[in-house]
């Protein structure tokens, strides 16, 4: 019954030693922690990730076909505008709705209390979770575009900027979702806010339609919110001449992402 005692942690020489890390050591430690936590998250959420990817694969094309019924026959310009917008909606939904709901649920089950007791930089915990959300969200865009080109018989002209535009869109949305879910103590309130957000996102954000259609005050608010800029950045990477002031869109998105990271870092990083 007694196992091989040589295989057991023993002997004081083996006990964890305090270390002072150099700069390279810090980076290596961060990367190793990130990689291990990514595996932890992927395996912990394997059912969730699988289902979410399937939902994303269905959601993007579903919205294309559904909106097609809603608006009837459209010209190529409108179809292209709508399709690129819906691809963005499917990605932003993951970050702003599913990500915060998952965080709220993980908070309830004590996940973060446990993860934060492990010897990993807390930024790696957040970074791993953000990476998972990017993984879940990106198929939504790809399949929405595929469905659109088939359904509306249109072609896209993707440029290399599609990769940073799509990544920044997902990252920014998920970062906002995370900051919100970590900063607001009550999971019920988080759930409620995500419902309001999806409503505002679908109907009152100039993602699927040009901002000029909104009342001017709302249009100017959206100049500072990330939603229009996500659509603008992605659209500019898929079309010729349909998007303007793309540089500003990238800057606004990046600013939202960084601001969200700061809020998240302040909330999860402080020792109460």
């Amino acid at each position: 019954m007694i196992g091989d005692s040589s295989a057991r942690p023993e002997g004081s020489r083996e006990l964890a030693q305090p270390v002072a890390k150099g700069e390279r050591g810090v980076i290596a430690h961060w990367l190793r922690s990130f990689w291990l936590l990514l595996q932890w998250e992927l395996r912990s959420l394997r059912l969730y990730v699988t289902l979410a990817v399937i939902v994303q694969i269905l959601l993007g094309p579903g919205m294309i076909v559904g909106y097609g019924y809603l608006i009837g026959d459209v010209d190529t310009f409108t179809a292209t505008y709508l399709s690129t917008g819906l691809g963005v909606v499917s990605m932003v939904t993951i970050g702003l709705v599913l990500a915060p709901q998952l965080v709220a649920q993980q908070k309830l089950t004590g996940t973060f209390d446990y993860m934060f007791s492990l010897p990993v930089p807390r930024t790696t915990t957040i970074a791993a979770a953000l990476a998972i959300n990017c993984l879940i969200a990106l198929p939504g865009l790809v399949f929405a575009l595929l469905a659109a080109s088939w359904h509306f018989d249109i072609t896209f002209e993707p440029s290399w900027t599609l990769v940073p535009a799509a990544l920044l869109t997902v990252l920014t949305a998920a970062s906002i979702g995370f900051a919100m879910a970590h900063a607001i103590p009550s999971p019920q309130i988080v759930g409620l806010i995500t419902q309001i957000l999806i409503f505002g996102l679908l109907l009152f954000s100039p993602i699927n339609f040009p901002p000029e259609r909104l009342p001017s005050w709302l249009a100017s608010v959206h100049e500072w919110l990330p939603f229009y800029h996500s659509a603008n950045a992605v659209r500019s990477s898929l079309t010729e001449g349909m998007a303007t002031e793309v540089g500003r869109s990238f800057v606004v998105l990046a600013a939202w992402a960084v601001a969200s990271w700061i809020v998240t870092a302040l909330v999860v990083g402080r020792r109460r």
Binding site: M1, I2, G3, D4, A7, R8, P9, E10, G11, S12, E14, L15, A16, P18, V19, A20, S33, L36, L37, Q39, W40, R43, S44, L45, R46, L47, Q106, T109, G110, T111, D113, Y114, M115, F116, S117, L118, P119, V120, P121, R271, R272
Partner: protein, 331 residues
Amino acid sequence: MEMANDLSIRSGLEIRDLTKRYRSGALANAAIDLHVERGEVFGLLGPNGAGKTTLVKQLIGLLSPTSGSIHLDGVDLVAFPDQARRLCAYLPQGALPIDALEMTEAIELVGRIRGGSRDDVIRRANSLIEDLEIGEWRHTPGHRLSGGVKRLCGFVMAAVWPSRLLILDEPTNDVDPLRRRLLWREIRRLGDAGTTILLVTHNVLEAEQSVDRLAVIDQGVIKACGTSAELKAPSRDSLRLELHLALGGDAKTRVLDSVPHFVADVATLGHRRHVFVSQEAAAEAIRWAQELSASGAIEEYSLSASSLEDVYLAIIGRSDALDGAAGGESS
């Protein structure tokens, strides 16, 4: 290196004048002084809300003390919470987030996160899993593990890679009696190998059998600290007469009404009464108990030396209110 300059700081865990006041104003830890020797198995006992978890969370840097210091083998854990998490392994009292992970997956990943290589971690994990006799659930996902097996899995996750301080919060909750014994053997082995072990519990009986020394914490204050024998010393001459009251009727009243002069103290634990008498009064006490038994007021009785549980209840001074919370029924 952030080692202490203060030469009076000893090896092991050294807590000095530690106070934690939450922003709400609640005082959770009040000027706690505690020293745990390196390799010692040390019990921290106290009722719910006594400040145990607050203390533990300061050790691993999840909470920051209002004042005071914590050193582990000379390393300042308050100033360097990252080091604290490297040097301390922690089994929390609450649920472990391993529902979708197989037991071995969870153990291996945590072992590697704690700094082990894959091969070393797997080797150590296998050894611990065999010793605790939980091998049949090796590939069972967390959500299908029973509460006790999940606790043991959590223990292996904490112990799979060596640490300086192993903090175990109620490690035996829901664990069956056989595996409890195996678990205690593992804990003792880790202590013998040089790991300092802080056991947080409200299970007094188990602590009495398993720890080297213990401290009783209540309302944020360390009320007593020492070996089990030291804590029991003041009540050495006292005997405990345990009366199991007959169920129903006015049995309770009858027993209380007829407490004789030689009874020093009475404690209530559910339908049991603990009556404390001096050694000289032992014969009288037994006669009294036999009378109660004959009258049907009690079902059975026993006389024994005062236990640590009695001392514990006396120390926290709420023996009537606790009603068995000291964990008397646990194993």
